[in-house]
Symmetry: C2
DNA sequence: CGACAATGAATGAACATTCATTCATGAAGC
DNA sequence: GCTTCATGAATGAATGTTCATTCATTGTCG
């Protein structure tokens, strides 16, 4: 009854068979494209298979189900993004610089691949089922990355301590997320990563005119 | 061949029948609930009908299709929200106060009805089809409301002029949106509207410590 | 030869939508 | 006041389609 999982068939070197990673990858790429184009629920597995140049049944040799395909897409991308993020952060000690790098990386990655952006900004938010699952795993980790930078800034006295670091990180994430969504929906093709500076600038300094006395709203 | 539309059968006064608005409303309420619970694509029209206490076919006397039901939900809510927003803004001249009211109203409305929040934060983002449609209509108008307040602030010299009002309004909206999404996904039931002050505070002043010299990041 | 990846036609379940029929209401006629 | 009729809202079983998924078969290595 076991469905054959893609085995590590070639025990030799990395050239004997490109089968596993190769085909799996092709299917994921195709899925990104098709999901972006038609939407997850309207996308047919057969479409994805065709786009990947394989038969419908083949998809099921590499993925348990259509759902699994979407989840795998998300997990792989998030894993990459977090790794890349941590790497980029290694070289920066100033919390402001750290936030700036996160923001730039975030928008660069999505701005590089519009299909991926569509999947992330739209298709992944299909249902609370997915949302809950995602937000409690990698997304949580990603938000944590931001929060740590904010906390570091507070500890160093660079950032205000009278705002919750958690709230601040949500706000920054929300701002980036909205920039990405806008870009993805817009017909214009401007360089998304440029928004990173604007977001960070506003996040650090606010819109309030600094040349004037600080006025509260409430 | 014409399907009977709910007619204004009683020509007399406003008490003769509660039928039309009543049932339509019940279906919309039920739809909000069922969409929130199961997600748009997994929700069956029959479920909605049952929840509304009508037969499946009846739904089609009031709505063209399942899609139409979701669209109607969105339009009614947005119409309400924008009207309420404009009303609240009438009494405030200070742009900071205007933004504050928008933020509070935004979060209050969603925080009042979790099912509605789920539909707005998740289900409406089903597909680019919906997204494009929404973002180009009411959402655009809503963003415009925010942008106008920002522009007014800039004109009055209260806000910095070196940031695009459009970018700033996206950022504010994104921050509010993320607060709402977090609240909706969280198991804890805290008063969402309290986040409005935090968001506005940060939007106006940023996280940067004001007691220190202004340091640029780049 | 095996062994196993790949195929794609066949299966069957799920569901939006339709529409022939029922029923409650109120008007008209007696 | 009572009966009959017309109207159209409401019903819900039946329809037809649309796929995700399976699996018997085929092709290809070593």
């Amino acid at each position: 009854m076991k469905r054959p999982l893609p085995a590590l068939s070639s025990r030799k070197a990395a050239d004997a068979r490109p089968p596993v990673a190769d085909k799996r990858d092709a299917i994921m790429r195709a899925a990104t494209q098709v999901f972006a184009q038609r939407g997850f629920f309207n996308a047919q597995v057969a479409d994805i298979a065709r786009a990947a140049g394989v038969a419908a049944g083949t998809v099921y040799l590499y993925f348990r189900s259509k759902d699994d395909l979407l989840v795998s897409l998300f997990e792989r991308t998030m894993k990459d993004a977090i790794a890349e993020g941590r790497a980029a952060l290694a070289g920066a000690t100033d919390p402001r610089e750290r936030l700036s790098r996160i923001a730039r990386l975030h928008l660069e990655r999505l701005g590089r691949d519009r299909d991926l952006a569509v999947v992330f900004q739209v298709e992944l938010r299909q249902s609370t089922k997915f949302m809950e699952r995602f937000s409690s795993s990698y997304l949580r980790e990603y938000l944590g990355l931001i929060r740590e930078a904010v906390e570091a800034g507070q500890a160093e006295g660079l950032f205000r301590r009278d705002v919750s670091a958690t709230a601040a990180s949500k706000i920054l994430f929300g701002a980036l997320d909205e920039m990405a969504t806008n870009w993805m929906l817009s017909r214009r093709r401007y360089p998304l990563e440029n928004d990173a500076d604007t977001v960070i600038d506003l996040f650090l300094h606010g819109v309030g005119d600094r040349t004037r006395p600080v006025g509260g709203v409430a």
